[in-house]
Amino acid sequence: MQKKQHLTVTLTGIAAIGVFVALLCSAPVPAQTEPSAAVFTSDGRLKVPTGFRRWVFVGAPLTPNGLNNGKANFPEYHNVYIQAQNVDAYLKTGEFPEGTVIVKELTRLLNPTFPDGSRFEPSGHGFFNGEFNGIDATVKDSKRFAKTNGWGFFTFGHHPEPYAATAAESPAETCAGCHAANVAKTDMTWVQFYPLLHERTGQLSWDTPQSR
C-alpha cells in the first residue's frame, strides 16, 4: 500500500514535469517578453542583433546608387525592423521604450538594366530587391547615449554577408547629427517613412488593416 502510494506520487511528479516542459517548449512568441535586443560587450560595443528578420517590418526607403552619383550613403534598399512590443509602445505613447533596437538591413538592387538601377519585370518598370548588403542599428538607452538624444548608432558594415559581429558606437557627426537635425521631435526616428507608425491606423490592432 505504501509502495503503491509512493509510485503514485512519483508518477504524478513525472507527469507534472512533463506538462511543465510541454508548456515551456511551446511558449508563445518569446519576443513579447524580451526586455531588450541590445547586447553590449564589456567595452561597450554592440553585438550584431539576431532574429530581426522575424521582427515587424515597418518600411523600406530606397536610395539607388544610380540616383546618387553611383554611391548612395545607404546602398540601396533600407529594410527597417522593430520588435512588436516597441511598435505597440510607440503607437500608444509617441515614443519608443528604453532598450528599443531598430535595425536597418540594406539590400542592393536586382540586376539593373537602366542607369537609375531599375529594370522591366512583368509587374512593371521599377526596382527589385537584390542581395543583402549590410546592417545599421540604433539603440535607445538614455544613460549610455544621453549626449545624442538617448539613442546610440552603430554600423555592422555596408557589404554582403557576413556582417561584423560587433560594432563600436558611431561618432555623433556620422549618424546622430542628421537624426537630431531632422527627426528629434519623433524620437530620432524617420516615422514619416514608415506607414505603420505615421498613419497610426487601427492603433489597437495595427497588425491587421482596417476593412469594411
Binding site: 511558449a27 522575424r54 517590418f57 530606397l62 521599377g126 542581395e131 543583402f132 491587421t208
Partner: protein
C-alpha cells in the same frame, strides 16, 4: 486504480497543455460560404520577404501595382520552403501596397537626408495568393485575390480573380518556382537569422 487514473489524467493534461499553447499555429486562409477569401489578419507581424517598387512615374502614371509591394509570409511556411523548395498547402502570401512620397523629379523620386530615392507614404491596398490544390487545381494550385488598390479601409472579403487577371502571368513567369517570384525575395535565397 489510483495509479492508472493518475497516469491517464496526467497524460491528458500534457496533451491539452501542448495543444493549447501551440505557438504560431497558422490559422491558414479563411473562406466564406460562397468561396470568397476573408482579409487575412495579423500579417504585418509575419515575415517580410521583400518589397519591389514600381513607381507610377515610371509606368505612364499608372502602375498595375502602385507602388511599393511589401510581401509577407508566415514563419512556418517560410521554413517549409527553405526545406522543400515549395510551399505547403494552406500557404497565404500577402502583398500590401504603399504609395511613394510625392516625387520631385520626373521619375517620381525625391531628395531626402539619406539620398535621392523613393520613400513609403500611405498604405494602398492588398493582394493575396492562397495555395489550395483542391480549390485552385486549374491554376497550378494557387488562387489569387485582391482587396482593392486604394487607401484604407480595404474590402473585408474578396472573390477569386479570373485566371486571366493574375494566375496567367504567374504561370508564364514563375510556374517552376511554385508560382512565386522568389527571385525578388532575398530571404528565399538566404538563411533566416
Amino acid at each position: 486504480m489510483g495509479i492508472r487514473w493518475t497516469v491517464l489524467i496526467a497524460a491528458a493534461a500534457a496533451i491539452i497543455a501542448v495543444a493549447v499553447s501551440q505557438p504560431g499555429a497558422s490559422a491558414g486562409p479563411v473562406f466564406t460560404k460562397d468561396g470568397s477569401l476573408v482579409l487575412p489578419s495579423g500579417f504585418r507581424k509575419w515575415i517580410f520577404m521583400g518589397g519591389p517598387i514600381t513607381p507610377n512615374a515610371l509606368n505612364n502614371g499608372k502602375a498595375p501595382f502602385p507602388e511599393f509591394h511589401d510581401v509577407y509570409i508566415e514563419l512556418e511556411n517560410f521554413r517549409y520552403y527553405q526545406k522543400y523548395g515549395k510551399f505547403p498547402e494552406g500557404t497565404v502570401l500577402v502583398k500590401e501596397l504603399a504609395l511613394t512620397q510625392p516625387g520631385k523629379y520626373p521619375d517620381g523620386s525625391v531628395d531626402s537626408a539619406s539620398g535621392r530615392g523613393y520613400f513609403p507614404s500611405a498604405l494602398h491596398g492588398i493582394d493575396v495568393m492562397v495555395k489550395d490544390s483542391k480549390r485552385f487545381g486549374n491554376t497550378n494550385d494557387w488562387g489569387f485575390f485582391t482587396f482593392g488598390h486604394h487607401a484604407l479601409p480595404y474590402d473585408s472579403t474578396a472573390k477569386l480573380m479570373p485566371a486571366g487577371q493574375c494566375a496567367f502571368c504567374h504561370i508564364a513567369g514563375v510556374a517552376k518556382t511554385d508560382m512565386v517570384w522568389v527571385q525578388y525575395y532575398p530571404l528565399l535565397r538566404a538563411q533566416l537569422q
